[in-house]
Symmetry: C2
């Protein structure tokens, strides 16, 4: 009669936290922060709602933790591609653009998350700091790569002009990323990186679409 099946399993703290955060992010992407209720989060993570309060002292704290986690993952996604150092700046720029305009960076969920967090990021000082740092870091890396690529080609450029080019290229990438994520069926798979590279080539005045170096 009495089956001694355990009624629940205890998981390592970090693993549970991550599961709760993942469920939170999915729900925020689907229904916004207010739509990510503690009960629904618990259901998705397959625990009861009381457990959330055991790991996070409030919903506010869970949301902040989820944001931090997400931004870290996104940063790693755009960093990870390039490990071998002796590739040219031009090639690294090409790869940076390509990886930023293909999955998993281009992804409906990522765009939805950006939208879902926007207001909260504006209101919360700590989250705003994380956002600004990530944004400037991304643009700074793009600016450095453009500078190196132009330098290799012996194209001279002033710092303010380089800043403008970086803002413009960043805007192209942001725009394509947003549209690719918001309208996933409106573009062919290779269309986004192709248009991105063509546009950035034109903007910085250096052809990027015919790479002679080996493609990883």
């Amino acid at each position: 009669m009495s089956e001694n099946e355990p009624k629940f399993r205890r998981e390592p703290a970090q693993q549970r936290k991550e599961a709760l955060i993942e469920a939170t992010l999915t729900l925020i992407a689907e229904q916004g922060i207010r739509g990510a209720t503690v009960r629904e989060i618990a259901k998705r993570a397959e625990v009861t709602q009381g457990l959330i309060r055991h790991y996070f002292s409030s919903k506010e704290e869970l949301i902040s933790a989820a944001y931090e986690y997400h931004m870290k993952v996104m940063t790693q996604l755009t960093e990870g591609t390039d490990l071998q150092a002796n590739t040219s700046g031009k090639t690294r720029l090409v790869r940076f653009v390509e990886s930023g305009l293909t999955p998993p960076v281009v992804d409906p969920r990522a765009v939805s998350l950006w939208a879902g967090f926007l207001n909260k990021v504006r209101a919360d000082a700590q989250m705003f700091e994380i956002h600004e740092q990530t944004y400037h870091d991304f643009r700074g890396r793009l600016e450095a790569l453009i500078g190196e690529a132009l330098n290799e080609a012996n194209i001279l450029i002033t710092p303010p002009r380089l800043r403008s080019l970086a803002i413009a290229c960043n805007a192209v990438m942001d725009g394509l990323w947003m549209e690719g994520g918001a309208l996933p069926d409106a573009f062919e798979p290779e269309e986004l990186p192709r248009i991105g590279l063509e546009s950035i080539s034109a903007i910085i005045g250096l052809e990027l679409t015919q790479t002679t170096e080996g493609q990883s």
Copy 2:
């Protein structure tokens, strides 16, 4: 003793509806759709909550009406600039880009609204249709202007290539619009249209920054 001050005023139906919709949009921009509660909407519109149900049979209907209203306003904002017909395509393209990259189109509230509506637009078929139509309309207009400007300069271009250029220019505008709205203090007032025109000039291969025609 008994002052015969009227306890409320009756307003024309359309005026009340618009006030309710405006309050709704402001709240959606601030806190998302779920944050736009009927009670808070009523408070902002300075009426009691019961009145909302007199004009809209449900919150769902109010949200849809607010979206339709907002998209109409945004469309008019990007249409309105150009009335005199005998200006060149190049000039009209310049004005189109400039007006799309300055207030009131570039505006934190507009970006927040875009973010706030994103999920709902994906889920609701009717709202999705409105969104797609507006988006394609905008890009179509941009594509036509680019085509005319290039044609005037005797630059030949194939239709698929024109499509790519339009997607790219649209992405530049979207990206700058988004960044200008999300980080209002990160750019100088003239920086966005300047960078936009420079980038689009480079992308389509036609200089737009030195206009010889009169500027409105």
